[in-house]
């Protein structure tokens, strides 16, 4: 799974950080750091972060086509 955060949209609300603190971190209250390729087993928490973002800046994409084809 691959995460893309549209940093132009991101307003630093930090809601993603509450939902999945291991994968999103806001430094200095404004700059978002995140794990661009979290393991698949973390999907539920990443989706929670995606849902919580008030400006929908986070998108989740399959890591590559091979992974998408996995059963």
């Amino acid at each position: 799974m691959r995460i893309v955060v549209d940093l132009n949209r991101c307003q630093g609300y930090a809601q993603c950080c509450y939902a999945a603190p291991e994968h999103f971190e806001l430094r200095g209250h404004e700059i978002l750091f995140y794990d661009p390729a979290p393991p698949e087993r973390e999907r539920a928490r990443i989706e929670r972060a995606q849902q919580a973002c008030p400006v929908r800046a986070i998108s989740i994409e399959p890591a590559d086509l091979a992974e998408q084809d996995e059963p």
Binding site: Y18, A19, H29, P54, V55, R56
Partner: protein
């Protein structure tokens, strides 16, 4: 229906159970001037624009005025001073930058991810305990049995407010919440009641903070009350009291609506109830969709500090501006099939927690409470059915939600 009087229809209690057709009418005049001079904004794009517009002020409450007592010292000296002090130290939800930002930061620094997520276990055991109390009954009232007591217990825990004081501040909280309703500004008796509740809760909070300073505990009020030093000055006493009250009250009258609206919506959409039961991981999407579809806060009022041109309308300086979040949440220009409850919608950018500078501080906490409450209710209530639809509503049009939600059950698992 003329758009200039449409907002009085929104305020009319007879439309409380279903205000959405009125909101649809509003969206046809996206920036609608009302006969009292206020402007109602109801489309997603316009609200998003205005939430980031520094010309809109949140310092909209009418200045506080204490009633005439007949005692000249009170009427001419003490109360005018009190009025001025209170107006100058409003809680930060009613303040603009830079003061808003300074005060909000004190709270955000305390509202850490760790502390919010630590509430998880406590919420779970509270929910189980409240549901357990309903054992042996065939009817429950969701509001009384769970939606109201849960957020109170959680915020008391976090702040360090003794829960046994709850009966007092329930009344104060309810009274203070009416300050958000636009009709409060025209109603002198109502405003006096708000000031009276405010004086009582302030006295209570002042005492509590003194106690926290004397015996600091591991809670948010103790930490906020810690005296500052030269390098990092603490919050002034009056701001501290206002902030404590805001935190105590803000979660009360809102989270109760989120939990109740969520359960009401599930009972009206039994297939979604079954889906949640089968897959508790659906809870976050489901709660987000409730925040869009039946939000606990329908609108907030701001004031234009200078003229604002928007959507071919000029809002003059000084005009109250009502941001009708609940209408924007069902804007067909933003959401496909907006009147359909669909937790699986991909792009759900709702205004359930507002947006911009004042975006809800308590959102992560409210989400945890609502998710756990809903998952547990679905798991433990056997064959829940609504006793009446629509349920009776509380009077608020802004903080809108059922006064009670009777549910028939066939026992508890």
């Amino acid at each position: 229906m003329r758009s200039e009087t449409l907002f009085s229809e929104v305020m009319d209690p007879k439309n409380r159970a279903n205000p959405y057709p009125l909101y649809e009418l509003f969206r046809q005049t996206p920036v609608a001037k009302q006969s009292d001079g206020s402007f109602v904004v109801s489309t997603h794009e316009n609200i998003r624009t205005l939430l980031f517009d520094p010309r809109l002020s949140s310092e909209d409450l009418p200045p506080s005025r204490r009633p005439h007592t007949g005692n000249p010292i009170k009427d001419w000296i003490l109360n005018p001073i009190k009025n001025r002090v209170v107006t100058a130290h409003r809680p930060f939800i009613f303040r603009d930058p830079p003061d808003h930002d300074t005060l909000r930061k004190f709270v955000m620094d305390e509202f850490t991810i760790q502390r919010v997520n630590d509430a998880h276990g406590r919420v779970e055991s509270l929910v189980d305990e409240f549901i357990e109390r309903c054992r042996g009954r065939s009817e429950v009232c969701l509001v009384e049995d769970l939606s109201y007591p849960l957020p109170v217990a959680v915020i008391c825990d976090l702040l360090g407010v003794p829960e046994e004081d709850e009966p007092h501040f329930q009344r104060w909280a309810t009274q203070l919440a009416t300050a958000l309703e636009p009709d409060a500004r025209h109603d002198e008796t109502g405003r006096h009641a708000i000031v009276a509740a405010f004086d009582e809760i302030s006295a209570y909070m002042r005492k509590l903070i003194r106690e926290k300073r004397r015996r600091p505990a591991d809670d948010m009020l103790s930490r906020l009350a810690k005296p500052g030093n030269k390098r990092t000055p603490g919050m002034g006493d009056i701001d501290l009291i206002a902030t404590g009250i805001l935190l105590l009250v803000a979660g009360h009258e809102t989270t109760v609506n989120l939990i109740t609206n969520a359960m009401l919506t599930l009972l009206r959409n039994p297939d979604e109830l079954e889906k949640l039961k089968a897959d508790p991981e659906r809870a976050p999407r489901l709660i987000e969709e409730v925040l869009r579809y039946e939000p606990p806060v329908h609108f907030r009022t701001r004031k234009a500090t200078s003229p604002i041109d928007i959507d071919r309308v000029t809002i003059p300086a000084g005009a109250p501006v009502i941001l009708l979040f609940a209408a924007a949440n069902r804007d067909p220009a933003r959401f496909a099939n907006p009147d359909r409850f669909d937790p699986d919608r991909a792009d759900n950018q709702h205004f359930g927690f507002g947006g911009g500078l004042h975006y809800c501080v308590g959102a992560p906490l409210a989400r945890i409470e609502a998710e756990i409450a809903l998952v547990t209710l679905c798991r433990r209530l056997r064959e829940p059915r609504l006793m009446s639809d629509p349920p009776p509503y509380r009077s608020g049009a802004s903080l809108r939600g059922p006064a009670s939600l009777g549910i028939h059950i066939n026992g508890i698992s």
